[in-house]
Amino acid sequence: MATLSDISPRGSHWFTPAMGLAAVIALTAPLWLEPAGLYQYIGIEVAIWLIYALGFNLLFGYSGLHSFGHGAYLGVGAYAFGLYQLHVEVGLWGGLVAAMLAAGLAGALVGACVSHRRGIYFALLTIAFGQVFWFSAIKLHWLTGGEDGLLNIPRPDLSLGVVRVDLNDNTSFYYFVLIFLALTVLLMWRMVNAPFGRALQAIRQNELRARFVGYEVWRFKWMAFLISAMIAGLAGGLFAMAQQSAYPDVMSLHQSGLIVMMVLVGGGLVSFWGPVLGVLLYFLARDILGGLTETWLLWFGLLFVAMVMFKPEGLAGVLQDLQHGRRGPAKTSNPSLEVD
């Protein structure tokens, strides 16, 4: 089985036909979504969740830190964007920077508290902090608008010198979000193969050895938490633009569980592209299966159970098996621990 820490074969292409196909599908989505019986907004929603999922997998898959309260940072980003627009100025970049900084600050504080913990204690603490944010969003009515949240958040125009792009048009906004998605993919791809990312993966594999070769393990975990929270904050800011509102439900345990489910079903534990598959599968299930039955989430939940029981490597694992099946077994895939 391939794993996240595998090294691509030397001389392999950094851009594959599958990536090219995905790029073409993404770039032409506004042309075929409606003829395919879908709607423009789903493209925006999928792209935002892809950003969120890719950032989340830096923590969940690459660092092995099982955060179950990550919706908090999506929510903090959404609220920060909304508050900036409603109380500071109507400004695109200022709002998005505020979303990332606010989520980053929240992630830095929580990360400092949880990075010294492992396993179930880490997971429980992330849930607890997630609930603190969710509860605060409901109770701090004067700031967050309570259960109703912040409404009528404007979508500022994108200003490119003399050209102004109206992002209230969903097609324009889709391409705007797509640019951020491309940047997130590029950043994450570079990061997981750079010294920082490889050190994170080493810590995930063997924390004891990592400490004894000189790594400040908690600092790496904290940085992963911070970066992941900032990316969730960016996704949250874009989500607030898309919804033109920010509300507590985004921070709920249910929403935090959703991202875990997407990443696991997609195969985020074994592949960089796992979260992408998971998000696509979820939205396809919601909009196609959801058109056929109201109980679509039950079926998706059963799929999740089946995946965890029979193929914990997720969809990406299934695809890797098919690929290896075609090419024959990998040269070094079988551990051989015989004693001399």
């Binding site: 820490s5 570079r190 080493a202 594999q205 621990l337 001399d340």
Partner: protein, 247 residues
């Protein structure tokens, strides 16, 4: 002054005293051995010396500097490397990456986030040099989990060497190795002794007596005898132990 000194180390776990006023000194350029029966406190002693456990009292000095109670990562960065009795590798990573991760040059770039480690030719070359030293260069790009037991032992040492240490602590390096594996390891350590100060815990007394310049015998958490292999042969405890068969 010895390169590495420990004075009056004391460590207890609950009511059980594991180390009781142990003092040890390891001279630069020597191979030092620690031997003793199971449960004597040898591995706890290593764990205290390398920062895994904090001693309840006593002091540890490296190159004259007090390092008592420092975290393992700080001790590692001072030039103290160790291997483990239970093999402790990055199993899902390639052999070469296990070594790269331990290189000081990699560590200096540990917060870089944009350039792939596999584009860094200097890191690859340094890692290959270490792998040549431990005889694993042919397996460089295989996952470490695919190595044989003996190769994994060699990689354990390779990871420690990659840290470019001044002193190398090896915890039962022959554990689980057959005769051929032990022989290869003895050859490797003979090569390394000219470059590194080595301290090793070893159950295989024939192996230890062949390599060590000086040996400390630990029992009941105390050093009960010390000396060069020849003088220890005359020690009563050593004579009563399995070493009697060597004479």
């Amino acid at each position: 002054m010895a390169l590495f000194e420990a004075h009056n180390l004391h460590k207890r776990f609950g009511a059980r005293v594991v180390l009781e006023d142990i003092s040890l000194a390891f001279e630069e350029g020597q191979v030092s051995g620690i031997m003793g029966p199971n449960g004597a406190g040898k591995t706890t002693c290593f764990n205290v010396l390398t920062g895994r456990y904090r001693p309840d009292r006593g002091s540890i000095r490296f190159k004259g500097r007090e390092i008592t109670g420092l975290a393992p990562q700080r001790i590692a960065r001072l030039g103290i490397a160790r291997s483990f009795q239970m093999m402790t590798l990055f199993d899902q990573s390639a052999v070469i990456e296990n070594v790269m991760l331990a290189l000081p040059a990699f560590h200096a770039r540990r917060t870089q986030v944009l350039r792939s480690v596999f584009d860094k030719q200097d890191l690859l070359q340094q890692a290959e040099t270490v792998l040549k030293e431990v005889g694993l260069v042919e397996r460089a790009w295989d996952p470490s989990v695919s190595l044989s037991y003996g190769e994994r032992r060699a990689l354990e040492i390779g990871v420690a060497l990659a840290q470019q240490p001044r002193i190398l602590f090896l915890d039962e390096p022959t554990s689980g190795l057959g005769l051929e594996g032990r022989e290869r390891l003895a050859e490797l350590l003979q090569q390394l002794r000219s470059t590194y100060t080595i301290v090793m815990i070893e159950h295989d007394m024939a192996f230890l007596f062949r390599l060590a310049d000086r040996i400390s015998v630990v029992h009941w958490g105390q050093v009960i005898a010390e000396g060069d292999p020849a003088s220890l042969m005359a020690n009563k405890w050593v004579q009563r132990s399995a070493l009697g068969g060597l004479q």
